[in-house]
C-alpha cells in the first residue's frame, strides 16, 4: 500500500452482535504486521472507556486516519467524529465501516460473514486514505422572524417569539388577522366563545412593539438560506391610511355597494369598503377595488368625501417591502372543501343545506342571523341532520380523515339543540373523539337525546313539502332509513389552503400526498421541514384542532428562538461542489435538487450552488452528465478506492 498515512482500524465487538458472528481475532491476526496499519478490537467502542481507548491509541501511535468497523454510521458517526476531533484529528478523516447491519446481522454463515467483514473493512481503509480534511462552516443567524399567516397558529408563534425580545414580521393576506378561528362561535369541548379567547391575543399582537403587522399582504419571493432569508413582501393597497383612520365606520355606513361577505361565508352582505368583522385587527377598513364603484367606473367617491380624517387614499399603490430574516414560520391554515362537487348532497341546489363554517356563522352572535338558527323562510327547524365525513375518508375526494369534524359535529348537535329544541340526527361512519374531554362531551350529547345513526347517507332529495329527505342505511340495525329534516349540515373536509403549492415552490418545501406541507418527521419533528430554518405550524401541516395548532405554534416558536439565540449555526461540510470548467449549464441538477440549493447563473451560463442549503444527498452528482458535480467526502477517488478495497 503506497500511503504515508498511519491508519488505525478499530473493530468493535458490539457485545455479541458482531463478535458472535465474525471471527475478529482471526481477522486481526491475519492482517497484523501490514505497514502503517494498526488493528484493535474492544467490546463496545461507543462506550466511554471505548472512546478513551481510541484517543489513547491515536496519541500513542500518532495515527492520522481512523476506520471504525462497527454499527451503522447513522448511529454513531457523530460520536466517533467527536472522538477524533478531541484527539486532534480532523473529524472528516474517519470512516465508519458498517459490519453489523450490513454484515453480521444479515449473514448466516460465520465464515462468509468474516470474509465479507474483511472486505468491508479494507474498502474503508482504502477510501480513508483519499479523504480530505473538511471544516464546518458557521453561519450567522439574523435575529428577525417572518411568520406567514395570521390565524391562531401564526398569532401564537408571533407572541411567543415577540415576548422573548425578538423582532417578528407577521404577514396575513386578509385585511385582518384571526384566520378561521375568528369565524367560529364556540369551541369544543368546553364551549368557550372563540372570539372571547382569540381577541385578547389579537390585541396583544397589535400592542406588542416587537411584532410588525403586515395585513392585506402576501409573500412574493423568497431566497437565501437558514439565518439569511431574503423575502419580498407585497403590501396590497388598502386604499385607507392606517395611521390616519380611527375606525369610526362612517365610510362603511355610506357605501352604496353590497357584496357577498367572505367572512360570513356568503350568507350576508358587506360593503365595498369594509372591516371584515367587529373585532378585526387592525380596526381599519379596506376597499375591495374589484367591486368599488370608484375603481370600476370612476363613480361615487362618497367614502373619501365623508371621511372626517381624510384617511381614504384612492391613489394608494401596492408597496413592496424587502427584508432579511433568520427563520420563517409558515402558518397559512386550511381551506374548506366545497361540497358542490358532491352532486347527490344537493348543496346549493336545495335550500337549507349548510357547510360547517356556514353554520358557525349562523350560530355566531355577530353572524347574519345574530345567532338564531332559522331556515331560509325564517322558520325554526324542527329536525336537523348533521352528516359527518363529507369529502373526507373518501377516495373520490379527500382520502384522509379531517380529524376535527366528529367533534365539531357533536358541538353543532349540542348548540342547535339548545337553541331550537329540534330533533337532531348525526350520521357518522366512525366517531373520532380523541381530544381531552371528548368522551365526556359525547356523553353530554347523548343525554340530550341526539340520535346517532351509523351510516353514510347516499343522497338528499327535496320533498314536495320543502323538507329534505335523507336516505341512509342504519348499519347497526341493518335497516334502510329515510328521514326527513328541515336543515342539513355537511361536516365538510379540511383541505390544503389554496396558496400552498405556490408557497411550497418559493420556499422550497415539499408537500405530502394529501397536499399539506411535508414535515421533517411525523413523530419527532412535526414542525420542521427539509429546509433548515423554515418551520410549519397549524393546519397547513395537516388537519388539526385549535389546541394542537397552538402547541405546534409553540414548538415552532421554541425552535426559532433557540436558533436565533445560538447566534450561529454550523453547516455540515459534506456538500456538493461544482467544477465550473466542466459545467455546461444544462440545468438538470437544478431541477433535481430537493433542497433548492442549486440555481442558474445566467451570466456565466452555469449552475450555482448555495452550500448552506445543500444537504449532501448526492442526487445532482449522479445526474450530472459532464461530471462537473462532486460530493465532498464522496468524490470519485474515495468511491473508487472503496470499490477497489472490496475486489
Amino acid at each position: 500500500m503506497k500511503n504515508k498515512e498511519k491508519i488505525g482500524v478499530f473493530i468493535c465487538h458490539c457485545g455479541t452482535n458482531i463478535a458472535g458472528k465474525i471471527d475478529i481475532k482471526n481477522l486481526i491476526q491475519k492482517n497484523s504486521g501490514k505497514e502503517n496499519l494498526f488493528f484493535f478490537d474492544y467490546p463496545y467502542f461507543c462506550s466511554e472507556p471505548g472512546q478513551t481507548f481510541i484517543k489513547e491509541k491515536i496519541n500513542q501511535l500518532n495515527l492520522t486516519r481512523i476506520v471504525i468497523a462497527a454499527c451503522s454510521p447513522s448511529l454513531h458517526e457523530k460520536t466517533f467524529q467527536k472522538v477524533a476531533q478531541e484527539a486532534g484529528i480532523n473529524p472528516y478523516l474517519i470512516s465508519c465501516a458498517n459490519i453489523r447491519e450490513q454484515c453480521s446481522w444479515v449473514t448466516l454463515d460465520k465464515e462468509k460473514a468474516t470474509e465479507k467483514a474483511e472486505k468491508i473493512i479494507f474498502s474503508h481503509i482504502n477510501r480513508v486514505i483519499y479523504q480530505e480534511p473538511l471544516f464546518v462552516k458557521e453561519v450567522e443567524i439574523i435575529p428577525r422572524v417572518l411568520i406567514i399567516g395570521g390565524g391562531i397558529a401564526g398569532i401564537e408563534a408571533a407572541l411567543q417569539i415577540a415576548r422573548s425580545g425578538k423582532e417578528v414580521y407577521l404577514v396575513e393576506k386578509e385585511p385582518s388577522i384571526g384566520g378561521h378561528m375568528a369565524k367560529l362561535d364556540k369551541t369544543f369541548p368546553t364551549l368557550d366563545c372563540a372570539s372571547c379567547i382569540l381577541t385578547p391575543k389579537m390585541v396583544e399582537v397589535r400592542e406588542n412593539k416587537n411584532v410588525k403587522l403586515f395585513t392585506y399582504s402576501e409573500v412574493e419571493e423568497v431566497s437565501g438560506f437558514v439565518g439569511n432569508f431574503k423575502v419580498k413582501i407585497r403590501k396590497k393597497a388598502r386604499s385607507v391610511n392606517l395611521l390616519k383612520c380611527t375606525g369610526c365606520g362612517i365610510c362603511i355606513e355610506k357605501c352604496p355597494v353590497k357584496v357577498d361577505s367572505e367572512f360570513d361565508m356568503g350568507l350576508s352582505k358587506r360593503k365595498a369598503i369594509y372591516i371584515p368583522f367587529p373585532q378585526a385587527v387592525p380596526q381599519v377598513p379596506v376597499i375591495d377595488r374589484e367591486n368599488c364603484l370608484w375603481f370600476t367606473n370612476n363613480k361615487c367617491g362618497v367614502c373619501k368625501k365623508i371621511c372626517p380624517f381624510s384617511a381614504i387614499d384612492y391613489n394608494m399603490e401596492d408597496e413592496i417591502v424587502v427584508e432579511k430574516f433568520g427563520a420563517i414560520i409558515v402558518a397559512t391554515g386550511f381551506s374548506l372543501f366545497n361540497p358542490e362537487t358532491i352532486y347527490q348532497y344537493g348543496y346549493k341546489r336545495f335550500p337549507n343545506i349548510f357547510t360547517s363554517l356556514e353554520i358557525e356563522r349562523l350560530l355566531s352572535p355577530t353572524g347574519p342571523t345574530s345567532g338564531e338558527i332559522i331556515l331560509k323562510d325564517g322558520k325554526i327547524p324542527q329536525e336537523v341532520a348533521i352528516i359527518h365525513c363529507v369529502g373526507s375518508r373518501d377516495e373520490n375526494y379527500q382520502p384522509y380523515c379531517s380529524s376535527i369534524c366528529c367533534l365539531y359535529s357533536l358541538k353543532f348537535a349540542y348548540l342547535i339543540k339548545e337553541k331550537t329544541k329540534a330533533k337532531i340526527y348525526n350520521f357518522y361512519i366512525d366517531l373520532r373523539l380523541t381530544r381531552k374531554g371528548g368522551e365526556d362531551f359525547y356523553n353530554r350529547v347523548l343525554e340530550e337525546g341526539i340520535e346517532f345513526i351509523r351510516g353514510k347517507p347516499s343522497q338528499i332529495k327535496m320533498q314536495k313539502d320543502g323538507k329534505l329527505l335523507i336516505e341512509c342505511e342504519d348499519t347497526l340495525l341493518g335497516k334502510i332509513r329515510k328521514i326527513s329534516v328541515d336543515m342539513v349540515i355537511l361536516s365538510t373536509a379540511i383541505c390544503p389552503e389554496k396558496s400552498t403549492p405556490f408557497l411550497a415552490r418559493i420556499l422550497g418545501l415539499s408537500l405530502s400526498q394529501d397536499g399539506f406541507f411535508q414535515e421533517k418527521h411525523p413523530k419527532l419533528a412535526p414542525v420542521s421541514t427539509m429546509v433548515e430554518g423554515i418551520y410549519i405550524a397549524g393546519c397547513c401541516q395537516g388537519p388539526k384542532d385549535i389546541p394542537e395548532s397552538v402547541a405546534q405554534a409553540g414548538l415552532a416558536a421554541a425552535e426559532v428562538i433557540s436558533l436565533i439565540d445560538r447566534k450561529k449555526i454550523e453547516i455540515s461540510p459534506i456538500v456538493a461542489e461544482i467544477n465550473e470548467d466542466y459545467c455546461s449549464g444544462c440545468g438538470i441538477c437544478i431541477e433535481l435538487c430537493p433542497y433548492n440549493a442549486l440555481e442558474y447563473n445566467s451570466q456565466k451560463i452555469k449552475a450555482k450552488l448555495t452550500p448552506e442549503k445543500c444537504f449532501g444527498c448526492g442526487i445532482c452528482v449522479s445526474a450530472c452528465f459532464a461530471g462537473a458535480l462532486s460530493l465532498k467526502n464522496y468524490r470519485e477517488q474515495e468511491i473508487l478506492a472503496q470499490i477497489e478495497g472490496i475486489l
Binding site: 365525513c389 377516495e395 351510516g455 347516499s458 342505511e473 348499519t475 334502510i480
Partner: protein, 169 residues
C-alpha cells in the same frame, strides 16, 4: 371467492352502497352486510341470499363507495359462483331469462326476440300471457320478425365461446 375477499379488505362498512342501491327495499341482506359477511367467511349465507340477484348494474354503489371498491363486479362474480355451486335463486324467471339469452346468442350471435321470449317464459304461463300481446304488437309493426338473423361467423363464435372456460383469469 378469495379474489373477492382481497378486493373488499378495505371496506369500512359505511353503508353508502346499500343506501344508494335502487332496489335496496327488496333485498333480504343489505349490500353492506353482504360484503361484511363475505369478509367474515359466511359464504353459504351470502350465496343463498336474494340480494345480488337484484343487482341492476346501475353502478351507483361503485361510484359512491369512499374506498372505490368495484361492487358491481363483485355482484357479477357472486352470480357466477352461485351457478357453479348450483345454488339457484328464488326468482326462477330471472335465471330462466338469463339462460334463454345465453342460448339464443350462442346460436345466432345476436338476440332473437321470438325465441328469447319463448324460451324465457314458456315455463311461466302467467307472465307469458301477459307479454304475448306485446310480442304480437311488435310483430305486426314489423319491429320483430319470425325469421331469425344469424351472424355470418356464427360457427366461429360458437367455437370460441366453447373455449371460454378454459381461459384462466
Amino acid at each position: 371467492m378469495e379474489k373477492i375477499v382481497d378486493k373488499i379488505k378495505i371496506c369500512i362498512q359505511c353503508g353508502i352502497c346499500s343506501s344508494s342501491c335502487p332496489l335496496n327495499f327488496a333485498m333480504d341482506i343489505p349490500m353492506r352486510k353482504l360484503i361484511g359477511l363475505i369478509k367474515a367467511g359466511y359464504t353459504k349465507e351470502v350465496l343463498k341470499s336474494r340480494t345480488f340477484w337484484l343487482c341492476l348494474s346501475c353502478y351507483f354503489c361503485k361510484v359512491r363507495c369512499p374506498k372505490k371498491i368495484d361492487l358491481t363486479h363483485i355482484m357479477y362474480n357472486l352470480h357466477e359462483i352461485c351457478l357453479k355451486q348450483n345454488i339457484l335463486p328464488e326468482n326462477k324467471i330471472t335465471l330462466q331469462i338469463y339462460k334463454a339469452f345465453i342460448k339464443v346468442v350462442n346460436i345466432f350471435g345476436r338476440n332473437f326476440e321470438p325465441l328469447m321470449f319463448f324460451l324465457s317464459l314458456y315455463k311461466f304461463p302467467k307472465k307469458f300471457l301477459r307479454f304475448l300481446p306485446l310480442g304480437i304488437f311488435f310483430l305486426k309493426r314489423k319491429r320483430i320478425h319470425l325469421l331469425p338473423y344469424k351472424i355470418k361467423d356464427s360457427e366461429n363464435l360458437k367455437k370460441i365461446l366453447k373455449e371460454a372456460e378454459s381461459i384462466e383469469i
